[in-house]
Symmetry: C2
Subunit: 424 residues, 2 copies
């Protein structure tokens, strides 16, 4: 892992997959097929891409029961505890409808309503993550969404991983559909004979899923399209180099294009972390992916002081930020851009990835400048409420008409003046 | 305005301008030019498209002073009062950072931070709306955004309408730039010598502005891309047909593609509104636009009863909904999808367009199913905060490692296990 001096300039190398025109054409054709032929098209693509021949796209209650049998009781209990922690945190995000009243009888307000229905995409195969089910579904249930459809590609025998089924059942997914790729996104957006269309689609997926989500955006809402995962560790000389290295590597093992960056004013720490990364890499099961990621996207930046370090962090606007300094809480107010902020030596990123409660779906690729972790806010919408009184109309009607006229909108002015005439 | 029976099926005709490939190519070339040549490119396009030769892209304080001179004191006072109402409403939307603590010493929270900087696009020419300045800027200032850059195309003499300048000055815009179209969007997204890049671009514009916003999305955030304006009025036999007609027409005068729809169980009201629309149309200054809109996109639906009416409204998910029935508040809980809901005879849409306080930037084209009015929420972002204690790590480390292993992520498990070994 290379050490770079701050004076050489700080940047984070990020690799965003945009998809090729050829991939886009494949996706457009799948979307069209599913729109036209519904379930039949979904089944045909599931046969083609996943190798599974399905009579029924739905996961049955027997399959869910069987999934519980495949996991140890201990693991089920851990999934339940993680789900409970995540639920507790997200329930704090709930919003209330509110209104204000005036002496003239006017009532103004904001009505909060959950979305009617949401589709959650859960990747299959090696990347089958039960934690992804918890993190994408719980904010929706906490928001009050009544219908949650999970889609996930089956293996060639038509099976879905046990951990994913157990997680889905624990958090109240209402329908589980064996479908993946662009065909699953199409089914959620347009609806088929057996799957009603949803209002929003969330969850990570491969490039075909990402392109399909981009295409159906507007017909339904989508969450952000995530880039590779990133971590920035901001640490001083008192940080434990083994912890810093381990946390950088936990990011690097995700993906060859994941970024792991250390920012520190300490040359000593920089060198020790460098050693530790080498040492720990050798022992990792996913060493090949992690070392490629560290080689291509890993950097240790040595900065002049902590002020420069904080500035660098804000410039990078990382998805995950760990602060391992003396009194980390004192830096919190200075951090303007980060998806999730982990404070102190025991707030290792996996704590947040799985268990503590906050969401692990976070803004990547510098979008923490303007985006937020997935939350209850993503599963509600607001409506303004205006109940204007007769007295308020009498009092303000002329002002309203004057503004309409300033903008050349005579019918707007007329609508108000009609009432004013009646109130004379 | 045609009357249609519910049994014929309810739908709202909506016309979304997607832009042609040719327009997209024009936009891409403008973006590239501004990215490369900065202010020079902006000035060249401003000369080409707006006919104005500018030395300086900035509006000066002298120009603002002059703008005040062009408006009556009364009108300035009305703009101030509208701004004050809108500010009061949006300040209610402010969010607080929050945290929870556990007995084991863990702290979890959500930190709310305003965006650093925002660009607000304000259309020029005939569509120069001071109200658009108020509605797009005030939520940003209420959120705490420090830098707000307004861009608006000048006329051929390099002037910006007085109402727009006064509104911008009243609400605390920090920079006003004379530029419009895709070139203004490019300047905001990439920055030029004289304009620093912003984090988010909001505000309505023509098809070139919409296409440019779509292209720069990801580099910066954007607001939704609005379709033509829509109103649905839900009314019973006691509603005043003249008010209903006037409000439908105030929507219709916006745009030939605007939609105005009445849903009512009363055949009598339907016919009276039909008469009133004809009658009032004749007196309108923008009669040509309004009658084209009513002809192409206006419908009166007669439904079997109010239950069917409410269902129809939820199916339409309108941008604006007026409810003119006996006890309108009793229907509020049944409305699931609407951008803004106007209750009772005096809550005419212009009340909300200009003056009452809630935002007039609302979800169009049925997106009220999943989108919300522009609000403070659009100008903040949230960061999760995780401060895990030593005790919590001791207690939960094994569970976290087990979840990591279930997902095959060994380095995640290792990062936790390292700490557990030290804590033995």
């Amino acid at each position: 892992m290379k050490i770079v001096n701050m004076n050489d300039g700080i940047s984070i190398k990020r690799s965003i997959e945009e998809g090729t025109e050829e991939q886009r054409q494949v996706v457009l054709s799948i979307l069209e097929q599913v729109k036209t032929n519904g379930d039949d098209a979904v089944k045909t693509y599931t046969k083609k891409f996943d190798g599974a021949t399905l009579d029924d796209l739905r996961v049955t209650s027997e399959e869910i029961e069987q999934a519980y049998g495949e996991l140890s009781d201990e693991l089920v209990a851990i999934i339940q505890e993680a789900a409970s922690n995540i639920k507790t945190f997200h329930e704090r995000q709930r919003r209330e409808s509110w209104f204000t009243t005036s002496l003239d009888g006017t009532l103004l307000g904001q009505k909060v309503t959950p979305l009617d229905s949401v589709g959650v995409y859960v990747p299959g195969g090696k990347a089958a993550y039960p934690s992804s089910v918890l993190m994408n579904v719980i904010p929706a249930t906490a928001a009050g969404v009544q219908r949650i459809v999970m889609v996930t590609p089956p293996d060639s025998e038509g099976k879905v991983p046990a951990g994913v089924l157990v997680a889905a059942n624990e958090v109240g997914v209402t329908e589980i559909v064996k479908a993946g790729g662009a065909q699953a996104v199409a089914a959620l957006a347009y609806g088929t004979e057996s799957i009603s269309a949803v209002d929003k689609i969330v969850g990570p997926g491969n490039i075909f899923v990402a392109l399909a989500k981009r295409e159906v955006f507007g017909i339904v809402d989508i969450d952000m399209i995530a880039g590779p995962s990133e971590i920035v560790v901001l640490a001083d000389e008192q940080a434990n180099p083994a912890y810093v290295a381990a946390d950088l590597l936990s990011q690097a093992e995700h993906d060859e294009r994941a970024s792991a960056v250390l920012v520190t004013p300490s040359q000593v720490l920089a060198e020790r972390v460098q050693e530790q990364v080498e040492k720990q890499l050798a022992e990792l099961p996913r060493a090949e992916i992690a070392s490629k990621s560290i080689e291509d996207y890993g950097v240790i930046y040595v900065v002049d002081n902590m002020v420069a370090g904080v500035e660098a962090v804000n410039d990078l606007a990382p998805e995950h930020l760990e602060i391992m300094v003396d009194e980390p809480m004192t830096l919190l107010g200075k951090i303007r851009h980060a998806g999730a902020i982990f404070l102190g030596p025991y707030s290792s990123e996996p704590v947040g990835d799985y268990f503590a409660g906050p969401n692990h779906v976070l803004p990547t690729n510098g979008t923490a400048r303007f985006s937020s972790p997935l939350s209850v806010d993503d599963f509600i919408k607001k409506s303004s409420v205006i109940s204007y009184s007769k007295e308020a109309m009498k009092q303000n009607g002329n002002s309203i008409a004057a503004l309409a006229k300033l903008e050349g909108l005579g019918a707007h002015a007329r609508a108000v003046e009609l009432r004013l005439e009646d109130l004379k």
